[in-house]
């Protein structure tokens, strides 16, 4: 199959848009998923808590 310039242009102008929209929705769902809240909260606080400056194992 010969992929010419016009094919590439139309693919990027249509599917390019849809995949980015789908991707953004995916990111939003991940970010605001309720059960992720605790995990994010822990992650942001835990970096400030390093009692002995040693690895865990």
């Amino acid at each position: 199959m010969d992929v010419d310039h016009d094919t590439l242009v139309s693919v990027s102008k249509s599917w390019g848009l849809f995949y980015l929209i789908a991707f953004s929705i995916g990111v939003l769902i991940y970010t605001f998923w309720p059960s992720n809240r605790k995990r994010f909260d822990k992650a942001k606080k835990n970096i400030l808590r390093d009692e002995d400056d040693k690895p865990w194992k």
Partner: protein
């Protein structure tokens, strides 16, 4: 650094270096009088020097393996030293080329010191030498601390660090010999590029393996940025540097990309180098060292995730804004322009997130020059991302492109954002790493801060003025529809600004020298303060309310 290795690891290090030395000899033999031959000699000397270091401690007592339950900080320490050495070198060359624009005689009539060769030596010195070493060193620190895991390798961190510096040395010495691929920020020739691929793959594996050792289920966001930096730079570097050498005994190569495709690939690379080398990795520093220094968690973790994906996915498409009004199809230019404008959203989300983290801790910003470095970096980040989006708009670009405005914009980012966040991070990191209470001199941090800020402002304002004047002079027509000014007229008008720019750069260089001295003295002076803990005062930086200070 060799003493921490077991005898098996010392042997392995020696084998790697011998192989590298043999490669150097092969390059020298194949290249002969060609610059490739000179580079072969440099590779030989470099690996020989490192081999000497390894062999001179080869039979020393083996290390206590119980020490391996601690963090691996030696490569970070060497990385910081290399960062500062490259900073002084790269910025010195920068001041020199800037001065050449005002006083061309400063090229001293030699080929190696002409503007065209010094300029890439400056950009490579500061971006890859200074920025790259800072990224490698801080990434080794951040990944260990946030994962609470030791680096997953004894030799690979050294391989990454010294391998990367060999690449930088080959790059800079190549420019002095007149060697270049003529691709901006990708000037080094094919063999140096191949070497960087090897180094980078090792870096990626090391980083992933260290993350795999973590205990937390969630990977802290700073690591996402570092990973994006490592992964995307590999991708960009490989695609943009696909080239065919004239022969294996010749340094010169030709790219496989032709015409407008070459231009597009180059600026896809070039703009994403800004995005993933000069932004993603430094945002990683921001997301770790800002909370640590301020003693407060990041304002919104969710916002940091949203801006991460925004930045990674929008930046990918923005590169074509470098090719407005060229043979590149119009719709591709539009695409680049649109994504550049959209980029403002995640960029300002990051900047806003950082400033809101500081909200409520402004007294610390006032008292602590290190935190002030970070705050000013954030402000310049916000400023230059806004400016970048603005300049990507086609009609604006018609005024700004090819003028000093672009140079001003780049330096608002490079001096104001990249260098400032690096210095803020280093001043936080150095005392922690060497177990010092604080930097040797808080006064010198303060001096450095004001030198850096004054230097940046002078530089950027000079280039804004000069760039806009240039742009306007080039597009002014007389009533007879001829150009009102010759190119030479515009050059004469630039003269005072070129002097101001060189002066601003000089201030910034002086600041970097002050920082190097301060770091050196912090390392050298053993802490009498460890037992005697003085209360927090303005000259030792603020102590966070609820956690141990980074300086402890």
């Amino acid at each position: 650094m060799v003493k921490q290795l077991t005898s098996g690891e010392r042997q392995f290090a020696a084998v790697i270096l011998v192989v590298l030395a043999v490669l150097g000899i092969a390059m020298a033999a194949a290249g002969r009088a060609d610059p490739l031959g000179v580079h072969g000699l440099i590779v030989l000397l470099y690996s020989g020097a490192l081999l000497y270091v390894v062999l001179s401690s080869f039979y020393e007592r083996e290390p206590d393996l119980s020490l391996r339950t601690r963090y691996y900080d030696d490569p970070i320490k060497v990385g910081i030293a290399l960062t500062m050495a490259w900073a002084v070198f790269g910025m010195f060359i920068g001041v020199w080329v800037a001065a050449q624009l005002a006083w061309p005689n400063l090229a001293f009539d030699a080929a190696w010191s002409s503007f065209g060769r010094l300029r890439p030596a400056h950009t490579t010195g500061v971006i890859f030498g200074f920025g790259g070493n800072a990224l490698i060193a801080t990434s080794f620190h951040v990944v260990q601390r946030t994962s609470r895991a030791r680096l997953a390798g004894q030799i690979s961190p050294w391989f990454v660090l010294f391998g990367f510096n060999l690449f930088c040395i080959l790059a800079v010495t190549g420019y002095f010999m007149g060697l270049t691929q003529s691709k901006e920020y990708a000037e080094p020739e094919w063999y140096a590029d191949l070497w960087l691929v090897v180094v980078w793959v090792v870096y990626f594996i090391l980083y992933i393996r260290t993350l795999a050792r973590r205990r937390e289920p969630h990977i802290y966001v700073a690591n996402w940025y570092y990973l994006a930096f490592i992964l995307v730079v590999a991708m960009l570097h490989i695609v943009n540097n696909i080239a065919v050498p004239v022969s294996l005994g010749h340094a010169k190569s030709y790219t496989v990309w032709a015409g407008v495709q070459d231009a597009m690939v180059q600026w896809w690379y070039g703009h994403n180098a800004v995005a993933f080398f000069l932004t993603a990795g430094f945002l990683a520093m921001l997301y770790y060292y800002l909370p640590i220094r301020a003693g407060r968690p990041i304002f919104s973790y969710r916002l940091s995730i949203l801006s991460f994906w925004g930045i990674t996915f929008f930046y990918m498409w923005a590169g074509s804004h470098h090719l407005h009004y060229t043979a590149l199809p119009h719709w591709v230019q539009n695409l680049g322009m649109t994504f550049s404008i959209m980029l403002l959203v995640p960029s300002w989300a990051s900047a806003g997130n950082a400033l809101l983290t500081l909200n409520g801790a402004w007294h610390k910003v006032r008292d602590d020059a290190t935190l002030r470095f970070i705050m000013v970096a954030v402000i310049f980040y916000g400023l230059s991302t806004f400016e970048g989006s603005f300049m990507a708009i086609r009609p604006v670009n018609s005024l700004s492109h090819y003028t000093d405005w672009t140079v001003g914009h780049v330096h608002a980012g490079a001096l104001g954002w990249v260098a400032m966040i690096t210095f803020g991070s280093l001043y936080t990191l150095v005392p922690t790493l060497w177990k010092r209470e604080r930097m040797y001199s808080a006064m010198l941090v303060e001096v450095h801060f004001w030198l850096a800020l004054a230097g940046t402002l002078i530089y950027v304002f000079a280039m804004w003025n000069s760039g806009i004047i240039q742009g306007l002079m080039w597009r002014t027509y007389t009533q007879e529809d001829t150009l009102a000014y010759s190119f030479l007229d515009s050059l004469v008008a630039m003269y005072p600004y070129y002097i101001a720019r060189a002066f601003g750069g000089l201030l910034f260089l002086l600041g970097a020298i002050v920082a190097s001295y301060n770091i050196w003295m912090t390392v050298r002076y053993s802490p009498e303060a460890l037992t005697d803990r003085a209360p927090a005062g303005p000259d030792q930086g603020p102590l966070p309310e609820n956690v141990t200070a980074p300086a402890e």
